[in-house]
Symmetry: C2
Subunit: 145 residues, 2 copies
Amino acid sequence: MMQDRPDFEIDHRLAAMSVHIDRFADIDIRLVNDSRYHWLILVPALPDIVEVDDLPPPTAGALFKLAGELGAWLKAYAKADKINIAMIGNVVPQMHVHVVARHIDDEHWPDPIWGRGAPVPLPDDGVAARKAALQAATTGLAQPE
Amino acid sequence: MMQDRPDFEIDHRLAAMSVHIDRFADIDIRLVNDSRYHWLILVPALPDIVEVDDLPPPTAGALFKLAGELGAWLKAYAKADKINIAMIGNVVPQMHVHVVARHIDDEHWPDPIWGRGAPVPLPDDGVAARKAALQAATTGLAQPE
């Protein structure tokens, strides 16, 4: 079991909107609890990370590799038309990378989803189903060296 | 002078909204012509790239390193409060990474800028000034090996 660094604490707003799935290198993989979208966030579990430039280069490399791999998995799993990947951080500055599956008939297409409406929580069995699928997927990914 | 691969052509909408600044490895650095925001796009000059997973791994690594470095430069240059980095691609699927300088008093803060209003073209001398600054900055970056 990996322990958080004593100097890292996840932002309470990120914690409230998502559930922890796995950790790769220094990166937490979290499922956003939203029935509107298949949506993950990746959070480097290091203190004081706001911009890409704040990341140690190996963590940056692992983060973007993971975003690409999980994006490809999510596109297939959600039968999505496009994956949106973004680091915005205007509301919550603690770095988090959004990986979102989009469909051409979804509520906000083709606009980005951030700042448009609020998440609609999944039923408990919906969270469990997505969590199980994502855990199975992450088990198949190679841990960074 | 680097030549485009004969099988790569930049999307006409990306070409219309931005001007070419430089090329690093296979990545075009372009300045978006918009007086509202300091805004760059990075376009891998390779055919058939839509999702991160479509990129050759060395190009993916170079792309995100460049996004981080140019983001750090743009944050200082534009005296920005936050850099937004995103790959959306719902309208133009050809991969392009947005690097946008945001200020807490800008028109759309804290929302993302995509899908909100339309670019307001700079005067010619405004394009020239931003282009010169960006070219000076890219000259200082190490080309990927």
